[in-house]
Amino acid sequence: MKETTEAKGTGEADGIAIRVAGLHKSFGELEVLKGIDLTVRRGEVVCVIGPSGSGKSTLLRCVNLLEEPTSGSVTVAGTEVTDPDVDIDRMRRRIGMVFQAFNLFPHLTALENLTIAQRRVLRRDKAEAVRIGRETLRRVGLSDKESAYPAQLSGGQQQRVAIARALSMDPELMLFDEPTSALDPELVGDVLAVMRALADEGMTMLVVTHEMSFAREVADRVVFMDDGVIVEEGGPEQVVSDPVHPRTRAFLTRVLNPAAARVGEVPDTGPHGARIDR
């Protein structure tokens, strides 16, 4: 792993965690990503916002190659993950990922969800995996749930276990794919609090989200995507509070004030429209 990292590029040295260059992705006829360039520095929190179907999730899933890009390159911590000669399993263990639907392993307890990859992938012995697992569950405030099965946990608790599962692998960066979109409104706060704490600890985070307040308060940079391209990016005050591009403005009007949008001329975002006012 070390030699590939050193051989493949200068990312480690220049503090770049993720570099996406000229990324295209098509599903059959449908072109979802139409040339994305994006850089995330080490320790940076970048939020990706935009309407449904704009390609945000696809972009995120291209970073750890859950989707194979059609063309372009993705470089993570100096290693080009799109290089066919790179061992993707070795790269993925350094990239934590949190899904909208949690995707916890339902046949395992919370603690076992945290230990299985530590043991099978990192080859940690059982005692160490359990120690790290417990410590990580404590970080997300779920020490008392270690022997609960996912079905016995609320959505918010499940998502925090999922975050802990990713963290227990000691990732260098974390990808969040709409982590609160499947949650009941009253459960969103706990998950966002965990993510906020993680950001404060200096974790590199790429977050696809509809939580505008989270983006505004936590993100170092906000990226607005629409129709497979990055329309606008910059500091959160600029993009969320004072957007330049008309498409960004239209989106934010819809998101921040859905009632007004419904009577206005702005087209609807569809069933998965962004939301903030919970």
Binding site: N64, I116, A117, V121, R165
Partner: protein, 261 residues
């Protein structure tokens, strides 16, 4: 006089019960109980079956079935994975296998393995190996289709989550997908076990020594010896001793995995 819906339903049910009871009464009165008793419930004959019917026949039936099921399960999982493989020849092989062994009678497989193979290759297969192969080869075809359905029923996000943690495809299959698939297919898999229990009776074809008798062969032998149906009845009850608790076991397992889902 018009009846309400409830009155009508009650009246119809009353008629059905009356007919049923009349039928049962007719049978009870018409039957020659002494004759029936001699044929089915000859206590003397029944007593003479024990303990061998348990210690030899029942035990052998279970052993044959478990040998076949164990082999069939391993082969079935392999076939299911081949069936779902990205590599087309694997898929073709699995499909051909499944179609073939689902399509031919188990009897034919027993004859082929018991007599065809030894003749063709001049080898004498061990009795237990023959049983394991014959029952397993047939069972695997069914188990493969069941397992394939189970693997496909595990949500796609499970594989993605496992891969995102750095697991290889095969590691994710072994640690995450297949354990969940097993839970899903536990009921149909138990059906397979019940079917194999019954198919194990085909072992008689191979020619068995006394200590290798399983329930059906044992019952048939005793039938000839005693000129009585009693052994067949007792053997039947012995099969139920195996199969009925299996059904209960599945229901309990289902309840338990429902909690973990």
């Amino acid at each position: 006089m018009a009846m309400t819906r409830r009155q009508r339903a009650r009246a119809i049910r009353a008629v059905q019960y009356a007919v049923l009871i009349a039928l049962l009464l007719a049978i009870v009165l018409a039957a020659d109980w002494g004759e029936l008793r001699r044929a089915f419930f000859d206590a003397e004959v029944a007593r003479s079956l024990f303990p061998d019917i348990i210690t030899t026949a029942l035990v052998n039936t279970i052993v044959y079935t478990l040998l076949g099921f164990g082999f069939g399960l391993v082969l079935g999982v392999v076939l299911a994975l081949m069936r779902l493989s990205q590599v087309p020849p694997y898929r073709w092989l699995a499909v051909a296998y499944i179609e073939f062994f689902r399509g031919v009678p188990a009897l034919l497989v027993f004859i082929a393995l018991g007599f065809g193979v030894p003749l063709a290759f001049q080898v004498a297969l061990d009795r237990y190996v023959t049983v394991m192969l014959a029952l397993g080869l047939v069972g695997a075809a069914y188990i493969a289709e069941t397992m394939r359905a189970g693997i496909q029923a595990v949500p796609k996000g499970q594989m993605e989550a496992a891969r995102s943690l750095g697991m290889s495809h095969s590691r994710a299959m072994a640690s995450i997908i297949i354990p969940q698939a097993f839970r899903i297919v536990l009921p149909p898999l138990t059906n397979e076990l019940v079917l194999l229990t019954k198919d194990s009776s085909l072992v008689y074809l191979l020619g068995l020594s006394l200590d290798q008798y399983e329930l059906s062969k044992f019952g048939r032998d005793a039938l000839n010896q005693h000129r009585s149906l009693t052994p067949i009845l007792v053997a039947g009850v012995c099969y139920l001793i195996i199969t009925v608790p299996l059904g209960h076991l599945v229901r309990r397992l289902e309840a338990r995995s429902a909690k973990a889902r």
